[in-house]
């Protein structure tokens, strides 16, 4: 494996705080949308080997719904809302009346896409306010497929030559509804110095 970019415990703590503030804000928005209580896990911030990224969400073949947004502005990266199929259906149903199994209807898909957009918007907003870094999400893309397939091109975008990606990940849980999902921020490694600098934990 090629060289690995080290991060100090202090830097990882600061990045975890990024996850905390971002996902906290996103959870408030989600809670308001579905009118239910939303629980958050303690965020993880870590350098993950490329081959291990899909393990974060249960393995490369796990069927999931992914809502993807590209981040541009002062720093770039990707934001991904990942839901297991059943959670996605359940969440869609809280917002639009749907029924049955199988493919999600167009309306359910748009509802989920909109959810992804709102969560990412709130997450990035909180982050922008905290750091003064402008972060603009793109319109959301939607896919329902194997987790590995949904994640692999994000790795391409953020890691052209490194064997690791930085993952800031929070799990959330909509209470009483068996809805669990992951909100994942993948900063481009090129943008990492900018973010660390603004957090006051630069390399030197």
């Amino acid at each position: 494996m090629a060289e690995r970019r080290g991060l100090t415990p202090l830097q990882l703590d600061a990045l975890r705080e990024v996850g905390n503030i971002g996902s906290g804000n996103a959870a408030v928005a989600l809670s308001a949308m579905v009118d239910k209580k939303v629980m958050l896990s303690v965020p993880r911030a870590s350098l993950v080997p490329l081959v291990k990224v899909s393990d974060l969400v249960g393995g490369a073949e796990t069927p999931v719904v992914g809502i993807y947004l590209h981040i541009s502005g002062d720093a770039s990266g990707s934001m991904l809302l990942l839901l297991e199929e059943n959670s996605a259906r359940e969440l869609a149903r809280l917002m639009v009346s749907g029924e049955g199994q199988g493919e999600l209807s167009t309306i359910e898909q748009s509802a989920l896409q909109e959810t992804g957009s709102i969560l990412a918007g709130n997450y990035l907003n909180a982050l922008s306010q905290m750091t003064g870094i402008l972060l603009k999400p793109s319109v959301p893309g939607f896919a329902m497929d194997m987790a590995g397939a949904i994640i692999d091109f994000i790795l391409v975008e953020i890691s052209q030559s490194e064997d690791y990606v930085l993952v800031i990940e929070t799990e959330f849980d909509v209470m009483q509804h068996k809805i669990r999902g992951h909100l994942i921020l993948f900063p481009d490694l090129g943008s990492l110095d900018i973010i660390l600098g603004r957090l006051g934990v630069s390399a030197d």
Partner: protein
């Protein structure tokens, strides 16, 4: 572990990895999206390899990582390893799968802020092209492929008989 002839041994070839063997293993790449799986097989000697390719071209990257990541270097590295195990170039054939476009986002910019789709939106297609070009340069015939589209695939390659199967959530299992 013994060289299991009774127990099928599956080797998981992860993102940016490749694996070459003359044992009767099954090589598998799970959840290929824009990534491309390239299987090389020497039927005469039952030597095979599988690469899980992420990017088209190592030469386009200023500080390229390991060879398994790029179409140009991964395929060459596998051929060299197969030749070391006794393969002849003229006996090697290729099959490939993957290179999908999982998301389309209107108005998304590529990293250089040029108009057009973001890098990830077209990377699958470029991976497929680069793999095809590299195989051509090496004189290795591409005998079957299942590429493109907007869905993920899992590729399994049985080195004991050369069979390649592709499975996807949308289209089930098929043999390549």
């Amino acid at each position: 572990m013994t060289d299991g002839t009774l127990i099928e041994q599956v080797v998981n070839v992860g993102v940016a990895e490749y694996f070459v063997t003359h044992n009767p293993h099954v090589l598998a790449s799970y959840g290929l999206g824009s990534c491309v799986g390239v299987a090389l097989y020497d039927e005469k000697r039952r030597i095979g390899g599988l690469a899980h390719i992420m990017l088209p071209d190592s030469k386009a990257i200023s500080k390229p990582g390991g060879p398994g990541r790029y179409a140009d270097t991964a395929i060459r590295a596998m051929v060299e390893e197969m030749e070391r195990l006794g393969s002849r170039r003229r006996d090697i054939k290729a099959k490939m799968a993957g290179g999908a476009c999982m998301f389309t986002i209107p108005g998304a910019k590529n990293p250089k802020n040029l108009p057009g789709p973001a890098l990830g939106m077209q990377i699958g297609e470029r991976n497929v092209e680069a793999a095809r070009r590299t195989l051509e340069e090496l004189g290795i015939p591409l005998v079957a492929e299942d590429t493109g589209g907007d869905y993920g695939r899992t590729m399994r390659f049985d080195v004991s008989d050369g069979r390649v199967t592709i499975s996807s959530i949308k289209h089930g299992v098929k043999e390549l």
